[in-house]
Amino acid sequence: MKKKTKIYGMPFATNQLSGCEVNYFKFRESTENQTAKNEIPENQTKGGNEMRRIKFWRILLLVVVSAVLFVGCSSNESSSGKNGGSKKDNDELVIAVNENFITMDPHNTGDTNSNSVQSAMLEGLLGSDEEGKIVPQLAEEYSISDDALTYSFKLRQGVKFHDGEDFNAEAVKANFERIMNDDSLRLYSRGFSLITNIEIVSDYEIKVTLKEPYSGMLTRFVSAKILSPKLLEAGSDEIGKNPVGTGPFKFVEWVQGDHLSVERFDDYWDKKERVKKITYKPVPENGSRVAMLKTGEAQVIYPMPSQNIKELESNKDVEVKKIPSTIARYVSINTMKEPFDDVRIRQALNYAVDKDAFISVVNSGFGLPLDSIIPSKTLHYEKQEVYKQNIEKAKELLKEAGLEEGFKAEIWGNTNSDTMKGMQFIQQQLKEIGVDVEIKSMEEGTLSDEIYGAQTPEDAKVQMWYVSWSAYPSDTTNATKPLFYGGSFPPGGANTAYYKNDQVDQWIDEVNMTPDENKQAEIYSQIQKQVYKDAPWIFLGVDEILAGMRSNVEGVYISPTGGINVTDANLK
């Protein structure tokens, strides 16, 4: 406050000062005018010329000064009473995120920000709650057959799409058929290609049958948002630009790169008091996003840069939210390359790294140690005994493996500054046990080419890769199978550790065949134990997600995957 008044005072002070200056100039101008007039006609002396030159430039200066004054005064007037903080009326919620939205086609979305925006307008048969647990949404209840092949849904009645169409089993079928019939859509290969039959039992009951059991399917029913059948007829171009669903807000406009806005849908099935309008803005620069939160131009910012936390914690108008995420950070170790094919070496690398230091150095203190192969928010997570930093033990393991002297290795990562920091941290930690790490950072596209360009494990040049993985909390399959399954080697998956354990492969097959949650939990417990012990990664940390909100915001939360839920958004 103190600071503010000080700066507010400044323009006035300068204005007054320059005001005086103008008078002073005018005065001198007029006196000199007279002298000039008197002198010049007499002769064209050098002095006269000089005088004229001075006169000309003085007038010019006068013009400039008054122009500056004018601008200063006018902007002063316009600013009075129009402070950024009070500008927004209470009916609009502005959410600033860090990246552009890519598409509004929910069946073909791969990025979190697009998902966030879509979730305001569109709903699936199932949804997820604040913790990431699956809950009924457009379906009132659901059941899975014992062979894990048939999913039955009882649909909510009396639901309308934003364009006035009715929501019913026909609409669901049309949506699922769109995904099944278009292999270029993301959701096709993620579950929907397994569907063999969709049966409409009645107007509000539908059964979906799969070719083979797939335990990630429930999560796919969350992702597969139901669009208006009318929109589906209009085709993919229209869907990507102008989504129509059943959600609490309906689409208004999307100005590429600037904003996307939605407004309250008054016929929404779950009646509650909600804010009238929500505008989403991509604001890539951290400092600008924080500035928007401070001025009240935005009520919610995500992500919140960690370096600004301290400064904002003392601000009464702003709340900082910390949410444990499903983003696991790790270094994958190519288990097929020497010397990493020896489990003792991989364990030694794990023992060499101080996880708490990693979180405080690389993640600015916001995070938790990765104490299993999946983050704690993921379904069926079970805490393992952490490889606590123990340099002696690490050296002993190296000695047992015959590499007492240490060895040279390479770590890859993208050019992101946080990744660089992380790789340097690993380099410094591994130096302690004599492992000399060379950092190779590559621009994302090139890196992806280097990793997924390898057609066979023998082709793979990667030794260690500093990377992260994130899956929906309810989707343990996606948090394990692409990473630890013997059939998921690049280019067919993300098992960049080239980790293959026949027992684990068998468990993964088994767990994906059963709909029984208890049995799943049991098998996942075994998988976690085994893989953690085999150490195909250096297990580092799980990010904590940070978001900033003005204190008058209600009903907005950030999910563990970084999605922004505004279903019940309101402003006090």
């Binding site: 000309f56 430039w57 600013s79 402070n83 290969s189 171009d237 890539p284 400092g287 596209g445």
Partner: protein, 307 residues
């Protein structure tokens, strides 16, 4: 003169053709597979193959080039691999804001740059010169990133005069154009000063003053006009660069411009967007160059005669 302009416009066609070839092949030479990036990290090999053929990336590169040129002649810039939206649609919302921002930055930078440069030259080694050159040196040395954030802190957060970003009204353009123009203004001021100092030493200036011409005629009409050639060259170049968008300013002010779109497209290997944008920039650059050449001939009758 019209003949000359027409000739120059015709000359643009082969240049643009060569540029299009270069852009196309260099874009495809960057390592990185768009199909993989489109498919996502958790995609299987089959999916990547499906997407590759969907995007037409499995065809021989010559084939792809012919398709691309064919579409281009029909005015079709293609469809973005990343968003699946027509490239035209993606440009639509960004092109005009970029132009406005460029123009507003150039206008104030030119006016103030010329003014400061002239004042500095006329009052060489006096306080207006020192003040002007301190301003100019600061303008050049302040990184745009820092200046932008500073302006936001003062004018948006503390004073609340202007928004922190976006393109809601004319106010949104003030801070970005100040940030963008600062460096250019300073550069123009320095060029104007040195060029004008050179000219002021010339005989015709002495003659003008000797025959009793007022300073208000000597400086703007005789001296400044003859000093403008290098200034116009620099201004033209800067103008061309600005039209290509400024990643820094667009990022700091979350401004929906062409620069950030290009960077995003490059990291995603979004070939159609990269190609269309580079082609557009080349076209803009060539046009600005033409404009500069025409301006030359107005400034210097000698050039007029030659052309």
């Amino acid at each position: 003169m019209p003949q000359y302009v027409l000739k120059r416009i015709f000359e643009m066609i082969p240049i643009l053709f060569i540029v299009s070839v270069l852009i196309f092949f260099f874009t495809h030479l960057i390592p990185g597979d768009p199909a993989r990036l489109v498919a996502g990290k958790d995609a299987t090999a089959e999916e990547v193959t499906i997407i590759r053929s969907e995007l037409g990336l499995d065809k021989p590169i010559w084939d792809q080039y012919i398709t691309y040129m064919g579409n281009l002649f029909q005015g079709d810039l293609g469809t973005s691999l990343k968003t699946r939206l027509p490239v035209m649609d993606m440009f639509a919302d960004r092109f005009m804001p970029s132009i406005y921002l460029t123009l507003s930055s150039m206008v104030w930078a030119l006016i103030l740059g010329l003014l400061i440069g002239t004042l500095s030259a006329v009052f060489k080694n006096k306080w207006p010169d020192y003040l002007g050159m301190v301003t100019a040196v600061s303008g050049i040395s302040l990184p745009g990133f820092w200046l932008g954030l500073l302006l936001i802190q003062v004018f948006s957060v503390q004073l609340g005069w202007f928004p922190t970003g976006g393109i809601d009204s004319w106010k949104s353009y003030v801070l970005p154009s100040l940030t963008l123009g600062a460096g250019i203004m300073s550069m123009l001021a320095r060029f104007t000063r040195s060029s004008l100092l050179e000219t002021l030493k010339a005989d015709f200036i002495r003659t003008g003053r000797a025959k009793g011409l007022k300073e208000s005629i000597v400086i703007p009409k005789h001296a400044l006009r003859n000093s403008l050639i290098p200034v116009v060259t620099i201004a033209g170049l800067q103008f061309g660069f600005l039209l290509g968008g400024s990643v820094v300013v667009e990022t700091v002010f979350s401004f929906p411009g062409m620069g950030r779109l290009l960077i995003d497209s490059i990291s995603f290997r979004d070939y159609p967007v990269i190609q269309a944008e580079l082609l557009l920039f080349s076209l803009e650059f060539i046009l600005v160059n033409l404009l500069v050449d025409i301006l030359y001939s107005f400034l210097n009758p000698k050039i007029r005669q030659v052309s």
